[in-house]
Each structure stands twice: as C-alpha cells, then as structure tokens.
C-alpha cells in the first residue's frame, strides 16, 4: 500500500504548492518511485503489465500537456494514477470499489474545471453514469458478500447471476461499450486533448482489469455468449457511427469504443495473448492519435486538410499511426488484432468474421483521415517541440514492439 500512498501524498503536496513545475516534478517522480517499489515487491504479472502501461502513458501525458495543464491537473491525476496502480494489483472486490471511487471523483473535477458549457454537460453525464456504475458494483459486491461471507477474488466461483449481472453493468459503464457508451463521445470531445488521451487509452482499461480478474466466473456460468453478443453489437455500431462523425475527437472516441469491444470480445472468447497485446498496442495507438490531433487548432475533420505536410516529424508519426490504425503490418496493432482473431478462432469458427469485418469497416474512416491529412493542401502549422516528444515515443514503441520476441513471450505467459 505504501506505493499508492506515495502518489496520493505527492498529489496532496501538489495541491498545496500551487506551482506547475514543482507539481509536474512531484507527479512524475512519485510515479516512477512507486513503480520501482511495485516491481520490487510484487510478482503479479497482470499487475506489472498494467502498471507499466499506466506509468508510461501518465508520464507521456504529463510531458505533453505541460503547457495546457494547471497545477491542480497534476494533483488530480496523481489521485487517479494511485487508484489505477492500486486496482491493477488489487485482489479484493471491496478494495477495487474504493479505488474506483478514488479514480472517478478527481477526474470529474478535471472535466468540470474546464468551465465551458459543453464541458460541464459532459462532466455531469460522466458523473451520473459513474454514480450508476459505482452503485451497481457496490450492490453486486454486497450481494456476493451476503452469499459468500467474503469478497476475495479467489472465492468468486458459483456466484448468483444477479450479482454478476450487476458487476458486469458497472464494468460496462467504466469501459464505455455500446448500451452504456453515451458519456464517452461527449467527454472525449470536450476535454483537453491530454485528458482525452488518458481517458481513451487507460481509464477505460480499469474495467478490463476487473473483468480479467473475475474471468473465472465465465467458465461456470454461460455468460460468455452474452458478452460476445454485446461486444459484437457494440463494435459494429460504433464503427458505423464513427464513419459519420465530422469531429475528429468524436470519431476517435467511437473508434476507442470499438476497440474496447474487441478486447471484451477477446476476453469472452478467452484469447489471452490477443487481449493483452491489444490492450498494450491500443493504449499507445489511441494515446498518440489523441495527442496528434490535439496539436491542431481545429477539430473538424474537413478543416484538417494537409496537416501531415506541416512538419516532417509530426507527419511521419501521423502517417505511422493512421496506417497502424488500418491494421496494416508491421505495427503493433496489426499483431494484436491478428492474435485476437487467432484466439477467437480456436473458440468458434464463425466469430472471427465479426471481428474481421469490423477491422475492414474501421479502415474506412482512417483511410479518409489519411487522404485529408496527406493528399490535400491546407494551412501550415508550427508545433511546440515539447509536445512532439511523447508522440514520437508512442510511435516508436508501436514500431519496435513486434520485433521484440521477448515481449510476446512475456505476454503469452501471463495467466488470467
């Protein structure tokens, strides 16, 4: 617990110091210290895997948003980071619940403090959806406690279907998949690009962690078919809606919903390697896409003409990320989608079609972005070089990961 307390403590100090530079230093150093302690003391592979992703993305967002964040952003993000690193190691449903609350309340303030009308609306939506999520998870946990007498994750076998359904509802809101996705596009569109990047890349992975932790329930109850149904509807719906969007952040939000549905699909068909790989590659892909589109003044897709030609480094990163998003090898996202398909195929022969047709649909809107960004003429932009560093790092991670066999071997050894 000391690791989490370090981050929370640094967050409190940041809140009192009211200095952006010191807050940033506290934020990043406390994250690194607590990560080193975690690696040293724990050997839980799932926890290490997720906390590595969280640490990398938080650090990169910290650098990227240095010019747009205020001191309190770092303070609030510290609380969220503490709770997320806690959740990735938690083995107790009640602890998970407490940490979930610790994550969503600071983030509500991050959204609401932007003080724009649509931002406030989105934050209210976020608040209500998350209250429903928390209460349904709490009710589920209480039912499990009444039935079993404890809430440890190991003892979750043979629980009552109602408590499981409540848990799943809560998790689905956290992930933001189809019937519960309504808050996602609004929040992603109206918040700062850095915050949208954190939201789309890691905040929605919290639900995935909880789902992976309680996956043993699927084998006892025939729940996987329900989840497969929900996730297939969700991915098809969001991919189709994404084509019609005119705002790039909203489009990325729908794409993110689709990708979370792929992961849910993978979990419900037990394709282990694909799920972990996709969590990793999608985090970096969507994070760098949000960071990239945050560089430009306009969010309308039609006004992004020729953005790839302004700067060579940004253009290269944009091209790599958009090509990768069309699931073209040799970038990480292709391999993760490939392993997802592979895992799904060993579960059922028909199901991969749903995945594959969705991969093709998602190309439609990404290839449209490639066309607008690279083939048309538009105004030139200049960029803050501090903002391009994390983008380049994210892009390089996506390029080199498939060529590191050790990483894939590590992933294939992780047990649910």
């Amino acid at each position: 617990m000391i690791e989490i307390l370090i981050i929370i403590f640094s967050g409190i100090i940041c809140a009192f110091l009211k200095n952006k530079k010191i807050s940033f230093c506290f934020f990043s150093i406390s994250l690194i210290i607590s990560y080193i302690l975690l690696i040293y003391f724990y050997s839980d592979q799932i926890g290490i895997f997720f906390s590595t992703i969280f640490l990398l993305i938080f650090e990169m967002i910290g650098i990227y948003s240095f010019s747009s964040f205020k001191y309190y952003h770092y303070s609030l993000l510290s609380f969220a980071a503490a709770s997320m690193i806690g959740i990735s190691f938690a083995r107790d449903l009640f602890l998970i619940y407490v940490l979930l609350e610790l994550q969503f309340i600071p983030i509500y303030f991050v959204l609401a403090l932007r003080k724009k009308a649509d931002s406030l609306e989105a934050s209210i939506k976020y608040l209500f959806m998350n209250i429903i999520c928390s209460s349904s998870i709490l009710l589920g946990i209480s039912l499990i406690y009444a039935e079993k007498g404890n809430v440890l994750i190991q003892s979750l076998s043979n629980i009552h279907p109602i408590s499981f359904a409540l848990l799943i509802c809560g998790i689905a809101i956290k992930i933001g998949i189809f019937p519960f996705h309504t808050w996602v596009p609004d929040v992603y569109q109206t918040s700062l690009s850095g915050i949208s990047a954190v939201f789309s890349s890691i905040f929605n992975k919290i639900g995935i962690i909880i789902l992976i932790r309680i996956i043993q329930i699927f084998s006892q109850i025939q729940w996987s078919w329900l989840l497969i149904l929900i996730s297939s509807v969700s991915m098809t719906y969001s991919n189709l809606v994404a084509i019609t969007q005119s705002n790039v952040k909203r489009m990325l939000a729908y794409s993110s919903i689709a990708n979370m549905s792929y992961i849910l699909f993978g979990i419900s068909t037990f394709s282990k390697v694909g799920v972990f790989f996709h969590i990793f590659s999608h985090s970096f892909l969507i994070c760098s896409l949000f960071m990239l589109f945050g560089l430009f003044s306009s969010e309308k897709i039609n006004s992004l003409k020729g953005i790839g030609k302004s700067n060579k480094v940004v253009g290269f990163c944009l091209l790599v990320n958009l090509i990768a998003a069309c699931s073209i090898p040799p970038f990480a996202i292709f391999f993760s989608e490939f392993f997802l398909t592979l895992g799904t195929l060993s579960f059922n022969l028909i199901l991969p079609f749903i995945l594959i047709s969705n991969f093709v649909i998602s190309c439609v809107y990404y290839i449209n972005l490639i066309k607008i960004a690279f083939l048309e003429e538009g105004e030139k932009y200049t960029f803050n070089s501090l903002k391009t560093i994390p983008i380049v790092v994210c892009t390089i991670i996506q390029i080199i990961i498939p060529f590191i066999p050790q990483f894939i071997e590590f992933i294939s050894k992780i047990q649910f």
Binding site: I323, C326, I328, P329, P330, F334, F338, T341, L342, L345, S346, L349, P352, F353, I356, F359, V360, C363, V364, I367, N368, K371, F374, L375, P402, F403, P405, I408, E409, S412
Partner: protein
C-alpha cells in the same frame, strides 16, 4: 563471416537506402539513389541465378517470434526467381520512365517501397511475413494512385485500398484458420492440413488471392485503379502486382481440391471473356489495356485451374510474359497520352508516322499478348492450352483458344484506333516520345523478342519446378 550474396540484403539494402531519397533535394541525386537501390537488389538476386536454374532452392533462416512460429526465412526457387526478375525489370524500367514526368521525391520513395515489398513477398516462406509484404504493397501504391493519378483519383484510390484490404483480411482468415490445425505459419506445412478442412480454408485463400488477380466477380477495382494510376505505376500494377495473387495460388496449388480447381477454371474462362469483350468496346486507351489485364489474368488462372505440370508451368511463364508485355503496352500508351494529352482513342489516329518507335513497340507488345508465334506469350499460352487438353477440359480449351482471336481483335483495334488512319488536325504537330521514354520501351521490346525466340532460357528451369 558475412555472406554478401545473402538474399536478405536484396530486401534490406534498398529498404535502408530508401529514406535517403527523402533527404536530398536535387532530382538527379534522389533519382539515382532509387535507381541504385533497385539495381543492387537486381544484382544480388542475379548472383543466385546459376545456382537456382539447376533446380536447387536457396533457403535462409532468420528468427522473429519463435514462440508462435513466426519466422523471417527466405526462399529462392524458380517460382520466386521468375517473378522477382519480372518485378525488378518492370520496376527499373518504370523508374527510368518516370524521370521525365515526375519531380517529387516522395513518388520515387513510394515506387521503391512498392517494388521492394513485392520482392519481399516473393521471397517469403512464412505466412505472416507474406502478409506483411502483401499489405506493404498496398500503402505505397495507395499514395501513388491517390496523389499522382488522374480524374477522380482519391475516390478510386479509396476503392482500391478497401478492396485490397478486404482481400488481405480474407487471406488472413485462411492463414489463422490453418494455424489452428497445423500450429505453424510455414507455407510449406499447409499440406499437413487434412483435405476435408482444407476444402473450406482454400476458399478463403482463393477469394483473397482472386481479388488481387481481379477474377470475374471480384474484378471491380482493377479497371479504375489501373487506368487512373500514373503510367509507370499502371505498368507495375498491371504487370507485376496482379501476379502476386497468382504467386500465392501457385504456392498452395498442391493442396487445392479438384472441385475447387474445376471452379477456378470455370471462373477463369468467364474472366477471360469478360475482360476481353470489355476491352473490345472501351474507348479509353488505358482502360482498355486494364480490361485486357483482367482477360490475361484469366489465362493465368486457367493454367492454375488445370493443375497439371503443363498448366502450372504455363501459368508461371505467362505471368512473366504478360508482365513484360503489359508493362510495355502501358508505357507506350503513357507516351501517347503524354504527347497527345487525350485518354480517349476516338480523338487519336494516324500516330504511326509521327511516333514510329512507340508504335513499333506497341505493336510488338500487342502481338505478343495475342500469341503470335515468334513472340514470348505464344509459348506460354500454348503450354496452358496443352495442359488443359491433357486434363480433359476440352470445352474450356476450345473457349480459351477462341479467346486468343478476341485478344488479337481488341489489340489490333487499339492499334488501328491509335496509330492508323488519318491524323486529326490538332495532333498534326506531334513529335516522337522523349528519349527517356524510349529506352525502357526498347528494353522491354528486346526482352519480349529474346524470350520469344529462345523460350528455353526460362522454360527449362520452370519445367523442373512441377
């Protein structure tokens, strides 16, 4: 000790050199870098020719993700050698041809990446590696069509991309499915799949590869993409890229069931006639040639569908011959369009006297595709027909034979519309195509005549393959 002739360098050296194209600003420098990188690849592959034509195959092993049997092994045998030589010859001639018209270094960068991906594709032994290069072709060619194409280029490039992507995912599905049975991504181990299951898997492979080959119901992308692409790229797309599908089918043909092969032959005949008859009625010069590509792909597919050694050797040989001839035809058509400024053949005529060299080269290419004896495609078409007759597909053989008449008809019709007759008033001051256009055209014409007179140069090694 480093083995300099290793196959891996024929892909990696051009790949490493290609970013240099983007650094320099002078056209001569970046053009020569792109030319040198392709020439290095050609030389490195050519060093292996004496070894390969004796019937040996060269294998190099490199590991990638061994825990999932994803490897980077390279294989050079007669099948891959023939198609690599075709790729590099067509790419280098197209590159030289581009010098006159295109002043953008990104054009040369994409062209080099495009051709190197195809070389990598033909060297692959692993399905994942194969898929990597298969998709690696799509991105550069997308940009080439979308940026330097003509008319509604962006719409057409989008269509091209989506079609290629659907095909790729169909292939990917087949790859993944066979992995669940064999636990291996090696292309050679596909024969281990039980025939009952492979029956179903091979349908996906056929759909994916057939989409690239523009087989009849899946041909829709080809006329647009090949007609509206920039001319050198049209010649690469039509000459080489469509053959990638044939290559994929030739690699797995040993495991295909006889029922599927019968349906492939039937589709091949339909494709032949569809492409040929459309070429007959089309007035757009490059579009007519694109439909002719569909028709010729029908021949290659027919050779594969025949399935015996004559048919397969004929298919491979025809892929080579068609590639060279079609590249030549596109380059000549490009020269005509460059000088006249028209795509429509009704506005042309009588260019024989004004552009004699172009006309001569075009005539050689046209007659070669129509299977006129001393030229190259004659031998390969005879081989395919002989294979078909041996397999007992007598009706199909007759239909395919009849098709050569249609081929001759549309080719001569194009020649007549473009080069014969009276010169329109506004074209009377036209000159011969520039020298830099003529060099690649004459080079390709020489290859056509050489292969036509001495087909054994290629036919001897090819006939040992099956």
């Amino acid at each position: 000790m480093i083995n300099v002739t290793a196959l891996i360098y024929s892909i990696t050296i051009p790949f490493v050199l290609s970013p240099l194209i983007l650094i320099f600003k002078k056209k001569k420098i970046y053009f020569s870098i792109s030319l040198i990188s392709l020439l290095i690849s050609l030389i490195l592959i050519s060093l292996n020719i004496p070894n390969v034509i004796q019937g040996n195959s060269i294998v190099e092993k490199y590991s990638w993700i061994d825990s999932f049997d994803i490897r980077f092994d390279l294989l050079l045998d007669v099948l891959s050698l023939t198609l690599i030589m075709l790729t590099l010859i067509v790419s280098i001639t197209s590159l030289i041809y581009s010098y006159e018209v295109y002043d953008n270094k990104y054009f040369y960068f994409c062209l080099v990446l495009f051709s190197i991906s195809m070389v990598g594709l033909f060297l692959s032994t692993n399905f994942i590696q194969f898929y990597l290069f298969w998709e690696g072709m799509v991105i550069p060619s997308y940009f080439l069509i979308a940026h330097w194409g003509t008319s509604e280029k962006e719409k057409i490039a989008f269509k091209y991309f989506i079609f290629m992507h659907i095909g790729a995912f169909l292939v990917l599905f087949g790859i993944v499915w066979q992995f669940t049975i064999t636990n291996s991504f090696s292309i050679q181990k596909i024969s281990l799949v039980p025939a009952q299951t492979f029956h179903l898997i091979s349908i996906f492979f056929f759909l994916g590869f057939g989409l690239k080959m523009a087989t009849f119901p899946l041909h829709n992308w080809l006329p647009d993409a090949h007609a509206e692409a920039p001319t050198p790229i049209s010649s690469m797309l039509s000459g080489v890229m469509v053959s990638c599908g044939a290559y994929g089918l030739l690699r797995i043909v040993g495991s295909l069931s006889s029922t599927l092969l019968y349906w492939i032959s039937l589709l091949a005949i339909i494709t032949m006639y569809y492409g040929g008859l459309n070429a007959l009625r089309n007035y757009q010069l490059k579009r007519a040639l694109a439909f002719s590509t569909i028709s010729q792909m029908g021949y290659i597919l027919f050779g594969i569908g025949v399935g015996n050694s004559f048919g397969l050797s004929g298919a491979l040989f025809h892929a080579f011959n068609h590639g060279i001839s079609k590249a030549l035809l596109f380059l000549c058509a490009g020269a005509v369009i460059y000088r006249t400024g028209y795509h429509d053949m009704r506005k042309m005529g009588g260019l024989l006297r004004k552009m004699p060299v172009t006309a001569g080269c075009f005539l050689v290419g046209a007659l070669s595709l129509a299977a006129i004896p001393p030229l190259n495609a004659f031998t390969s078409e005879v081989l395919i027909l002989e294979g078909a007759a041996q397999s007992g597909y007598l009706l199909f053989t007759f239909l395919a034979d009849l098709m050569t008449v249609v081929t001759l008809a549309y080719m001569l019709l194009i020649v007549k519309r473009v080069f014969m007759g009276k010169i329109p008033e506004n074209l009377s001051r036209i000159r011969e195509a520039p020298l830099i256009f003529l060099i690649p055209m004459i080079l390709l014409t020489a290859i056509i005549i050489l292969i036509g007179i001495f087909p054994n140069i290629l036919l001897d090694p090819i006939s040992k393959m099956w």
